[in-house]
Symmetry: C2
Subunit: 490 residues, 2 copies
């Protein structure tokens, strides 16, 4: 039998963990809060990384690599940044171990204490701007458009696989510009790159917006984000892009000579997405039978399960399907022929449903005679019998259809679960139901904080191109010019 998965409506949170663990995406490790990304999960991450990396390069960015460690004093240089980031992090204090004179393995060598402690990077603004100081002298050195793929560590108290782990993988873009305007354009451009990736590759609709002041990145003048709705109606922040103004340039004294011959501080942005996206992908699409992978990111797109008795039948099926496999590979479609003779077909079907392979083909002796094959799509579970002849084109189109259909389904679900609240009573009722609430807010951090305290709902974002509309704040009754998105969030 296939491994059992807890149903969503029994225990959503356990359902999620079951999928991550039994779907072979990740595993717990012996290090508190750190996970192991297993080969299938890492294959998914590689596909995400490659698509994003291509988009970054197409928009003129290059990759580089900066040190894992940040001198403690660097964190104190930008006042807001230190408040937000310097607290829960891994601190390296020593650089050597020694044999325990009492024979108990190894111990920290007390004489090998660092003069200044090193922080394992929770984000790299400070160490990067410390380098940019040496790289930027004149307007001719700008813009500097650099991205880094790296691991980072934030010592979270409560961790969840992919969604919140002490160590995670991400990319962080750090750009430097001659003007505020140019930096803002960059900040918005990267938000759009993220949104396009979420929608076109992850099949996950997102709302683009700005964070309220309370929710801004530590050190940013403005934080843009994309917010997605999970199947339990909660929000998940899937990517952020920050306009940092001149804060880091001032903290690290990065000035440049303008065309007009003046010295000015450089303008900055940073933007990132992480392995958290894998958590989002799971919760956006999967069902009680397992993962559902969008074809554009699936580590395996098509699996062929032969139904056979004995080696001779297996070989006949293989020979018959070899040209199809070659044709699919030539189209850039990944395909696996599962010739394992120790597992029954029904068991295999359940296994491939568990890991979310978009298209499954099954073929037995009768199909062989008829020149047909059974095609099952993972997202809708629909099955049909198709002619084998020319089926590579059918499959190619089917993958496109599945991708689109998954997006449409997620979009319909999201749109059906965004409601407007016009009074506090409505708000209190709606917040107990799954979904986002679109409501007026008076723009103060005080009100935002109070609403969060009372309902656990936060302002996810102020949508871009938000319609302007007179109204009153659902909580304070003060005047408001636009609605914002409230939700409980991951």
């Amino acid at each position: 039998m296939a491994k059992e998965i807890t149903a969503r409506d029994v225990d959503y949170s356990q359902w999620y963990n079951d999928l991550v663990l039994k779907g072979g995406l990740a595993d717990y490790s012996s290090v508190r809060g750190c996970m192991v990304i297993k080969p299938y999960g890492y294959g998914l991450w590689e596909n995400m990384r490659d698509a994003l990396d291509k988009a970054f390069k197409e928009t003129g960015h290059v990759n580089a690599y900066f040190p894992l460690f940040i001198p403690k004093s660097f964190l104190s240089k930008e006042a807001a940044h230190v408040e937000g980031f310097a607290k829960e992090c891994a601190v390296v204090t020593h650089y050597r171990l020694m044999n325990d004179p009492n024979g108990g393995g190894v111990i920290v060598d007390p004489s090998a204490k660092l003069e200044e402690e090193l922080i394992v990077r929770p984000t790299s603004e400070t160490i990067i701007w410390n380098s940019y100081k040496n790289w930027i002298q004149s307007y001719r050195d700008l813009p500097l458009l650099i991205n880094q793929w790296a691991n980072v560590v934030r010592w979270e108290m409560r961790t969840r696989l992919f969604l919140r782990t002490a160590e995670f993988l991400w990319q962080e873009g750090h750009t430097a510009h001659a003007t505020a305007e140019e930096a803002i354009i960059e900040t918005e451009k990267m938000l759009h790159v993220y949104a396009k990736f979420a929608e076109e590759f992850m099949a996950m609709p997102v709302i683009k917006g700005k964070k309220s002041a309370n929710e801004r990145f530590a050190g940013a003048l403005d934080t843009y984000c994309i917010e997605a709705m999970m199947q339990d109606g909660q929000a998940l922040q899937a990517g952020t892009s920050h306009f940092l103004g001149q804060n880091f340039a001032k903290a690290f004294d990065v000035q440049f000579l303008t065309k007009e011959g003046k010295q000015e501080y450089v303008w900055a942005t940073s933007w990132g997405v992480s392995t958290r996206l894998i958590g989002a992908l799971i919760m956006a699409h999967s069902d009680d039978d397992g993962l559902v992978m969008p074809p554009k990111l699936a580590p395996l797109q098509v699996v062929i399960v032969p139904i056979f008795k004995g080696a001779e039948q297996l070989n006949m099926i293989f020979d018959k399907l070899k040209p199809l496999m070659d044709a699919l590979k030539a189209k850039g479609i990944s395909v696996k022929f599962d010739d394992d003779d120790q597992k029954r077909p029904g068991f295999k079907f359940a296994e491939y449903e568990m890991i979310g392979v978009p298209v499954r083909l099954a073929i037995g002796a009768r199909d062989l005679e008829n020149g047909t094959v059974e095609v099952a799509r993972r997202d809708t579970k629909e099955k049909s019998s198709q002619q084998l002849e020319g089926i590579e084109n059918y499959i190619e189109q089917l993958l496109v259809d599945i991708q689109q259909s998954m997006y449409n389904k997620a979009l319909a679900f999201r749109d059906a679960n965004i409601r407007k609240a016009d009074t506090w009573e409505q708000f209190l009722k709606m917040i107990e139901e799954p979904g986002f609430i679109y409501a007026h807010w008076d723009g103060t951090g005080e009100t935002e904080e109070k609403i969060k305290e009372l309902t656990k709902a936060t302002i996810r974002c102020i949508p871009l191109d938000n319609p302007q509309e007179d109204g009153v704040c659902i909580f304070s009754g003060k005047p408001s010019k636009e609605r914002v998105i409230f939700a409980r969030a991951y």
Copy 2:
């Protein structure tokens, strides 16, 4: 004027540093021993990584990701391993900072001390085998063929850009097998993958061999390596592949059920190459004018320098060459058109020589009339005038020729600098000259150690397929059955 480079025969070590820094490959950072890999250097690493990753996948391996941190106690579990690795490493002792009550920025929160210290991985055998324990139950789970791309930290006292840095990037393969034989085959297979990469992509000939017992990886039964000769005649170990026997399986109690129904310990290998390869690439090929990049790894393969007066001429040249650029890109050849009007062509020539772009095209008004272009190859500095018509095919072939010619040159240099020593006097004389020495050795660690003490020469390897030949050890005079490679090394 172009940046100045110290000549090799003036100061080889300074020449190397000049190339790394002025060639834009890397920069020093504010963290002791850690470097910044700049975009051009990272582009080179991306090309190396992609070629290696493809070769790993073609040989059946998949990627995964394991935690950055290793619990201190794990290092003590394998006796030899702890001796070799547990000493000079970064130790995380605390997980929180706090505001300094005296107002001096942030300080380590003394109450946030970890119960068990965490080591930033110097290599991942222990943390990975701790996971494998949960993943391997039966022979059906084997072989397990996993690779990881990661950063690692070894607290080296004397560091050099790329060659020896506290943090570096690498890949580490960790495989698990049912039999010793299978594990040894894997160990050797990956050595051949490395050798093929070094020779075909880096254009760098290598000697494949086994390390002497003294030079083995901590915890290995056998260490295989590839050794390359740098232009100063010193050796550089460019990759290693280890047969680990059952050492880690025993340390982490990883047993499996055999086909015959018995419980047995699993057999292991590990193998890795790192950003050190970039140091090897530089020292194998570059000259006093800068870097020389092999075409297959060059971040930029072809640069076009227009020689023009005014925008109109520039546009004419661009329009004329646009079809060529498209044709090159269609062939997968990277090309840049340098339209900068602030730098003179001669300055640009020197800059592209500095960063080692394999092929440079220069085109001016007269060339435009004649339908010709000047083609310069970086490796030999040869220039010729070529017909523009159909030149994309000429360039494609030229890149192949350069790649081969660089390999041939490096091979001829190496072979001219391997000498046989038959007496200790010969050895002492030869070791003061650049190159490798092929000499008899009595097979003892004692003799090896003594030779190292007296001459700084180490046994680089015992070559695979080494001719068997009776002789006597150059140092002890004891009988020997084969020669080994001695050299001073990076």
